[in-house]
Each structure stands twice: as C-alpha cells, then as structure tokens.
Amino acid sequence: MYEFARGPLVSIAFAVFIGGSFYRIISTILLAKKEKVILPFVSPRHGLRSIMHWIIPFGSRNWRIHPSFTILTFMFHICLLLTPVLTLGHIMLWRESWSLSWWSLPPVLSTLMTIIVILGGIIFFLRRIADPTVRFVSSWSDFVLVIIVIAPFVTGFMAHQQICDYNAIITIHMISGALWLVIIPFTRIVHMLFFPLTRAYMGGEFGYVRNARDW
C-alpha cells in the first residue's frame, strides 16, 4: 500500500490535477468565447488591477469591514498553497523521483504553517455552523470539502511529529494528499483556478467598460 501510494498514486494524482485544471480552464475560456458578451469586455490592465486589490489583504472595502475574517482567510490560503510546495520532506521525494528540487522552508516554519491551515480549516468549519447566513447556504458537501482540504495537513503533522504508527499515517497522508489534488478541478475548490478568470472579467466590466472601481 505504501509503495503504491508513494509511486503510481502520486503520479496519477498530479496528472489528474494538471490535466483536469487545463481542461477546466480551457473549456471555460472556449465557452466564454461562445457567450460573445464576455471576451470583448476583458481588459488585461483592469483585470489585473482588480485581482491585485483582492489578493492584497485589506485591499478592498469588503476585506476592511471584515478584518478578522480577512486575516484568517489570507493566512489560511497562503499557508495552504505554500506549505506543500516548500516542505523539505516533499522536495526530497520529488528530487528522488523526478529530479526536481528547490528551496525549502525551515521545518519549524512549515510545522507552524501546517498548524495555521488546520486551525483555519477548523474555524471555517465552525463558522459554517455558527454564522446563520453561511449555515443557510451551506450543504453537506461544503463541510466534507473542508475536511478533505485539511486532512493532508493533519496527517502530515502527525507523521512529522511521529504520532501513531508512522507507516500507516504517512500512507494515509499520501492518499489524502492525492485526493486533495484530484478534487481541485472537479469541486468548488475549482475557485482556486477560476478566481483569476472571474475577477479579471469583473475588473473589465467595472474598470474598462464602466470606468468604476470594483474593490
């Protein structure tokens, strides 16, 4: 099981993630082309301007009026994206398998960032229950997705801290990580891929077409 997870499973997961992502983005752009009233209003300058205002903490009024949520979501997402890519253990495995290697985070920092992801996920999960509006619009899949997203971080943290049986945990870690990658293009986690597209389109509609600010 460990060998399978360590070898083919990870490769398949990456292939599905990369292939699926390309598929979603390209098919969406083709569909947008067919809708006719989208691409004429896309402007790189205004699109980028809009993206910048929303990927910088407190860059938009909605971020400013929700300061604690803003800090939470930015820390969660930054750690979520960077930790897996910059963890020493991952880079060592990639060097062994694919001869790829780059700079890694000091282990203490990557542990801390892992904890942030786990805590952030738990807070998001609880917010879905506690906030009446968010609870009203949430379905069971929203809760499951949070669990899938933080599962590799929980198991990664356990493996690193040698909690429970290492071999079992690391296998679960790899399986959950593979699942994490595979669901990105095919569930609401696709917001990771679509964010630049929807944001850029809105930036064009507001900035290029209407000469107005959208942040």
């Binding site: 989208i38 906030d131 009203f136 619009v137």
Partner: protein, 443 residues
C-alpha cells in the same frame, strides 16, 4: 402549516393569477431554454465557483435593513431561486415560481453592490436577472411592472404617453421656459444638431417642469440641441428589468435609430440611471454592439463639462444643507461619483457626504424595477431600506440631491416612511435656481 411572512402574503395578480396557469412542462421548458440556450459560461462558472462564504451578505441593503435575516443575503436569494432550478432541472411547482418572482423582483434592485463585494467577482445581480428572465418567459411578473413593459411594447415609452401628448408637453414647457428666457426653445427634429436630449416617460407625464429646466440650461450653455417628435425619445426600459429582453431590444434599437436619423453627434441622457444602463450597456449588447454606436453622456457628465468649462456660471450657491444619493447605474455603473460631487460642490454651499459613499453607497431600493412593482410591495421595499434612512439621517442634511428618477422616488418614499423631514431634488432644479442668466438673454 408554515406561517407565511408579511411579504409572502402580498397579493399581486401578476404573480398569484399567473402561476395558476403554469404546468410543470411549461416551467421545465422555459428553465431549460434560459439555463442552456441563453446562459452558458458565466452561469456555469459562477455556480461552480461560489464557496458560500457569505461575504456578499453585508453588501445588501435588504439584509442590513432586516436585522441580517439570512434569507435576504444575496447568496441566499440565489440559493432560493437559481441553485434550486439548476439542481431540480426546472422541476418546480407554481408556488416555487411565485416565491422566486417575489424574491427577484421585489427584494433585489439589481444594484450590483453584491457583485462588487464578492471576492471572486461573481455577478450575483446578473444571476438574479437570469431568474427574472425565466419569470418573464413564464408570464409571472408583478402586475405593475408588467404594465410598464406592456406600455413599452405598445407606445415605446414607459407610461402610455402618446405622440400628440409628447409634442404638446414639449411645447408647453417651451412656453414655460420662455417666461424666463424669451429665446429659449425645445427644438424638435433638428437634423444635425450637436446633442439629442433623452428623457424618460415620467418627465412628460408627471414632472414636465424638468423639461422646461433643460430648455433654460441648454439655452444658457449655448448648446445646439434637439429632441425627437417621434417615438424613440424614451429609453427608460423597464422591459430590461422585467426580463422581457425582446421588448428591451426594440426600445433601445428605436432610440439609437432615432438618434441616427437626427444625425446628432452625441446623446445627453437626462437624470435617470436605468435608462442610461439600458442605452449604454444592456441595449447595445442585445443588439450586437460592444459599445454604443453614438457617444452618450449622462446628465452628471454634461453638467460637469458645462461648469468646468465655464459655459454655465453660478450666481449664488444654494444655501440649504444638502446630501447625496449615488445612483447605482451612473456611479457604480459609470464611475461618475467624483464628477457628481464636483457638480454639487459647485452648486451648493453646505454639502455633507454620506457614508458609505461613491461606488459603496447603498441602493435606493427603487431601481431595478422594484418601485415599478407598485403599491402592493411598497411596505416591503421600505422595510428593506432602513439602512438608507439611517444613513441619510446621519448626514443631518435637509435636501437629498440625486440625478436619477428611481432614486428620486425611492428616497422620497423612504423619507416619508421613516419621517426624515427631508426633500429630494434633481440637479437641474438647483442649477436653474443658482445659475447666471446673462442679461442679453433676459427679455
């Protein structure tokens, strides 16, 4: 049985009687047509991308005004309508359609503030307009709103104004203006004029003095202008908001064709927001143009140019304490908020801005066709905009200036309902009071 809310008990034949005629097959057919043939990329991406974070909630004046009732968050309105239609593939009953129509027509003014507050830029107002489109194709539209659409279909204007009444009103207002400036004119059908001036039907119907005001302003500014004597003068376009896009397209086409026939260099749109939106955005796109075929400026921009260039000078600034209502379609929809403030500061001595302001200002809860849903829904609209009443009261002003007919009527309603003791004015009303009329023009 579940207790019905006050809003659910409102009687409106446009909804109540119409849903009785629906069959499940009709509903499914229309839903399928709109969701698969008329909408594609945006609908799909928006539905897939929404992570249900709830950050759009506080963008909405209805949510803020109703003690943060989750049902009034923009995302909830989408969940209660569009998500269900998609999930059930249109397999819904008449009662669902009735509720859906109530939500999208009377509890949302498609002001696009939520679209601006979504971190992903999901155009929530567009999604709710799609639902209006479905309601319109099913014939389930609040009766008063449908009546304005019918008026557009029959007379090409919003208020059943006939051509003889139109011409007669313009000539009457020309005479009124001539009492001030004997040489003032409302030139009809002047081919090759620099400007065609566009208004909406409420002006000749109930606010005719605004036309006389413009005759004075154009005369003082020395603008070569004209108005059509034929249909095609009104582009207020409630069909755009009722979901009848075919009628919307007809109205806009005639408007542009009229301007083309008169060979004008540009159109100045009077103080109306949704007419501007229809003419500049929704109309051209429906007709297959990315941008309008003839340049069009809104009255705010026109006044700004006239004041900035000195073609209109101010004799004595207006003394009353004033504040502002930013219309969604010209401020969020055209970025004219700063120019609007320039104009107001030029005209008025004592101006207090609102908070939040500019693109972030709250909706009037009258635009987007909501006020056109008529008296049955007025109380609901008022409950949906307590936040606006509080915002205006906080300025301490006595006069609210707004260059938009919907905002004008909506704010008047709010002032009355919440007993704010304020009055609403258009810019032109203050401009004719304060501008310099050169001696040579006075008879």
């Amino acid at each position: 049985m579940k207790k019905l809310t006050e809003e659910q008990q409102v009687v409106d034949p446009g909804l109540d009687e119409q849903v009785k005629k629906l069959t499940p097959e009709m509903i499914q057919k229309v839903v399928k047509r709109v969701l698969t043939k008329e909408a594609s990329a945006r609908l799909k991406v928006y539905i897939d991308t929404c992570v249900r974070c709830g950050l759009c909630a506080e963008a909405c004046n209805t949510y803020l005004s109703r003690n943060k009732d989750p049902q009034f968050a923009p995302v909830s309105k989408v969940k209660n309508t569009l998500w269900e239609l998609v999930k059930r593939k249109g397999n819904v009953d008449g009662e669902f359609v009735r509720n859906m129509a109530r939500i999208v027509f009377t509890e949302c003014g498609v002001c696009r503030r939520c679209s601006m507050y979504c971190p992903f830029g999901i155009d929530i107002a567009y999604l709710l307009l799609l639902v209006r489109r479905i309601c319109s194709l099913l014939g389930v539209v609040p009766q008063y709103l449908q009546d304005t659409t019918n008026s557009h279909a029959a007379t090409m204007n919003q208020m059943w104004v006939h051509q003889d009444e139109w011409i007669d009103t313009l000539q009457w207002q020309e005479e009124e203006a001539q009492a001030e400036i004997p040489s003032a004119r409302i030139p009809l059908e002047k081919e090759g004029a620099e400007v065609m001036y566009s208004v909406i039907a409420p002006e000749p119907k109930i606010l005719a003095q605004l036309l006389g005001n413009m005759a004075l302003i154009f005369k003082v500014a020395g603008v070569d202008w004209t108005m059509p004597a034929t249909d095609g003068w009104d582009n207020s376009n409630m069909a755009m908001y009722s979901g009848d896009f075919e009628i919307m397209g007809r109205v806009e086409r005639l408007h542009w064709e009229t301007a083309a026939r008169l060979k004008v260099k540009k159109i100045v749109m009077g103080e109306c927001g949704h007419a501007f939106r229809g003419a500049v955005y929704d109309g051209p796109r429906w007709l297959g143009w990315s941008f309008p075929p003839i340049p069009m400026v809104h009255a705010i921009e026109f006044y700004y140019d006239m004041l900035k260039s000195g073609r209109i000078k101010i004799r004595e600034k207006y003394k009353e304490h004033v504040t502002i209502q930013d219309p969604c379609n010209t401020v969020r929809g055209r970025g004219l908020g700063d120019k609007l403030r320039y104009v107001i500061n030029e005209l008025c001595d004592n101006f207090t801005d609102v908070d939040p302001r500019l693109e972030h200002n709250y909706c009037c809860m009258a635009g987007g066709g909501t006020i056109n849903c008529g008296p049955p829904w007025k109380r609901s609209r008022m409950k949906s905009n307590k936040v606006k009443a509080e915002q205006l009261a906080a300025t301490g002003a006595h006069i609210v200036i707004t260059p938009c007919h919907n905002c004008h009527s909506g704010i008047e309603d709010i002032i009355g309902f919440y007993k704010l003791g304020m009055h609403v004015k258009f810019i032109s009303e203050i401009m004719v009071e304060t501008m310099v009329i050169p001696e040579e023009l006075k008879g």
